[in-house]
């Protein structure tokens, strides 16, 4: 973007989001009306608001459309293998606890192939922030069914319609031990920004699900219009129920969406538990592990 001379009395403000992006790589690869870019705005603003030392923030993603987020963030960023962002992030965090580790990936990546790692990191309460963009589909590979695809929706590998029960992600995260669980949509930009900031500043396994349109595949195959139509749907069919029992917030095909902050509790993180345990066992012989 070039700056021209102006004859007004206001100085040109910058879009602070660009401070967090590798602008030399723009434009990004996401489709018109895709919600991922919207969530990146929320992430950038949340990082800004969190006042974290950006040198210590590391973003880890997997494979898929959302997985490409890591490549666009101007931070230490790692675009790892499909489903394995979380164990890589675990390694980063445990090797250097000073790092603030954020996993930013999609529903298929994190809960299908990555499901095992998701539940164990939550169980261990490894201190990391997991931002899961849920577009109910495998976008990058052409629109296959995902563990979040609602019953009745069509995907390229369920061309006659999906009959598998999808995950209720907040319920899954809570049941595995996540200390912070929230769901918003890419329409709820201010709520999502606040949730990401809270999750970033929260100790432990913090999980934020953000629903986003996939106009090219999920919406088109299911005749749901384009990205804007999906965003309007989120606006008109979401109900905010902070503190709701996560058992009660499953999603159905074009059904009611429950959003909000569902879980926010405190538990020792993996490293806190480890240090406390070994301190008790070994006394002075043990130096608390700091990396």
């Amino acid at each position: 973007m070039t700056e021209e001379t102006m004859d007004t009395d206001i100085s040109m403000p910058t879009n602070t989001v660009e401070d967090f992006l590798r602008m030399e790589r723009m434009p990004h690869i996401w489709c018109p009306g895709c919600g991922i870019g919207t969530t990146v705005n929320c992430f950038a603003h949340a990082l800004e608001a969190s006042a974290l030392d950006l040198k210590k923030v590391a973003v880890v993603s997997g494979i898929g459309c959302t997985g490409r987020v890591a490549g666009y963030m101007k931070l230490d960023s790692f675009h790892t293998t499909h489903g394995r962002a979380i164990p890589f992030a675990t390694g980063l965090k445990l090797a250097n606890p000073e790092l603030k580790v954020v996993v930013y990936s999609g529903d298929g990546d994190l809960t299908a192939i990555g499901g095992n790692h998701f539940i164990h990191a939550a169980r261990r309460n490894v201190d990391m922030t997991v931002i899961l963009i849920n577009n109910f589909i495998y976008g990058m590979t052409g629109g296959q069914v995902a563990p979040t695809t609602p019953i009745g929706a069509t995907a390229s590998t369920t061309p006659h319609g999906n009959f598998e029960e999808p995950f209720n992600l907040p319920y899954l995260a809570e049941s595995c031990g996540a200390v912070y669980v929230a769901r918003w949509t890419s329409f709820h930009v201010r709520h999502a920004t606040k949730a990401i900031r809270e999750a970033l500043l929260k100790k432990g396994f913090s999980f934020v699900e953000i629903m986003a349109p996939c106009p090219t595949l999920y919406s088109r195959r299911n005749r749901l219009g384009d990205g804007l139509d999906q965003m309007k749907f989120y606006r008109d069919n979401s109900e905010i129920r902070n503190g709701a029992d996560t058992k009660t917030v499953p999603l159905t095909f074009q059904g009611k969406i429950t959003v909000g902050k569902f879980v926010d509790k405190d538990k020792p993180t993996y490293l806190e538990a480890m240090n406390a345990f070994y301190a008790q066992k070994f006394g002075d012989k043990f130096t608390p592990y700091k990396g």
Partner: protein, 386 residues
């Protein structure tokens, strides 16, 4: 630089190969291990789990080998020397991440204590059936280094070497034990820390502005940095340019992947290592590695007693393979004998290098036990008779 004395268990011990490997890792400065139990490798991580808490190391038993093999890479990028340990079935699971480490040039160590395969096979019994997998197991073109200890002492020594080579060449290095070497108990001498040479990580020392994470030095190896130091690195398994940014073109592929392969191929002279015994002037050369190299000794001695001129070439690096030396020998000897506990893996490398100039006799052996030296002797005698 010298090893950090904290953690080096200087002294003479009666321990097995798995335990010696753990001590070698600790002596080399490894302070991050992620692993998963699998016979006959589990003792390595069990010892690490025992030792790490009091020397500031981080060990975590991950939920599977796939998680372990990438958690160590997170550990490396956060600044630690890292290792994972497994056997055949786990080794297969780790292949994707071995490729990731090669592609992203992440220095780390993968230990495979080989057991009989394929599949679940014979979990508690030895084999050497993963040797080709070590070289070619992940998809695509890349190169790695693989070392073969034949004793607990060598398990200690070569683990240190593995870490040093990983840092020198910014590459994953494999340590190919077998169940025999892993579970045999022998004397292992651990020297004082100031007698142990450690290769430090090749960190970039210039300015942030000039740094390119995948721009190689003259030896084809790029300097590295770690997360948290403000370099805003990007590391991806996609084909990438010197900045680390994905570039989806054949030109980028050629530039990057050719260098990954050449990084080891062109430095092979410095990396390749083997031990020779009476190879100069020999008519028959036994090429062996791992436990089989010890089983071959009585066979070789018997043949020598009968007047045969038998040399013994023992691989320390299985990969890169000592191509030059075998090629050179192939013009001078009558033949090679290659005993291995598989149905023919490293023999193919010998055949490749020999290119028909001499006889190559494989002595195969099914997984589950070591050779009877008589079989190796019979092969030597057979080659001797021509």
């Amino acid at each position: 630089m010298k090893a950090d004395p904290k953690g080096v268990m200087t002294g003479a011990y009666f321990i097995d190969g798995d335990h010696a490997c753990a001590e070698g890792a600790i002596a080399a400065g490894c302070r991050f291990v992620a692993g998963y139990p699998i016979t006959p490798s589990t003792e390595v991580v069990e010892r690490i789990a025992e030792r790490f808490p009091l020397i500031g190391g981080m060990f975590i038993q991950m939920e599977d080998e796939i998680a372990s093999s990438i958690a160590i890479q997170g550990g490396v990028w956060a600044g630690k020397k890292a290792m994972t340990v497994t056997s055949g079935p786990g080794f297969s699971l780790m292949m994707e991440h071995l490729g990731l480490a090669a592609m992203t040039e992440t220095p780390c160590v993968f230990v495979d204590v080989q057991r009989a395969g394929p599949s679940t096979g014979l979990p508690t019994l030895p084999a050497q059936g993963d040797m080709m997998q070590a070289r070619w197991g992940s998809h695509g073109d890349y190169a790695i280094i693989a070392l073969c200890p034949n004793s607990p002492q060598e398990s200690f020594d070569l683990t240190i070497k593995a870490f040093n080579l990983a840092e020198q060449y910014r590459v994953p290095v494999l340590l190919m034990l077998d169940e025999c070497v892993g579970h045999m108990t022998e004397r292992v001498v651990i020297p004082p820390a100031d007698q142990i040479e450690i290769t430090p990580r090749r960190y970039w020392e210039g300015s942030k502005e000039d740094f390119l994470l995948f721009k190689a030095d003259a030896d084809l190896v790029p300097p590295i940095v770690k997360a948290g130091d403000g370099f805003n690195i990007h590391v991806t398994g996609l084909t990438h340019d010197e900045r680390g940014y994905p570039v989806m073109t054949p030109a980028a592929q050629e530039k990057l992947v050719r260098r990954l392969v050449d990084k080891i191929r062109k430095n092979a002279d410095a990396i390749v290592e083997y031990r020779e015994d009476q190879v100069d002037g020999a008519e028959i050369v036994v090429v062996s590695y791992g436990i089989t190299s010890r089983v071959a000794i009585p066979a070789i001695e018997q043949a020598r007693k009968e007047g045969m001129k038998v040399g013994h070439l023992r691989l320390i690096t299985a990969w890169p393979f000592p191509t030059k030396r075998i090629r050179e020998l192939s013009t001078k000897v009558r033949g090679f004998v290659v005993p291995e506990i598989n149905y023919g893996q490293m023999v193919r490398e010998v055949e490749r290098c020999v290119a028909g100039r001499a006889r190559v006799q494989l002595v195969p052996h099914g997984g589950g036990s070591v050779h009877n030296p008589k079989d190796i002797y019979a092969a030597i005698a057979g080659v001797g008779k021509g």
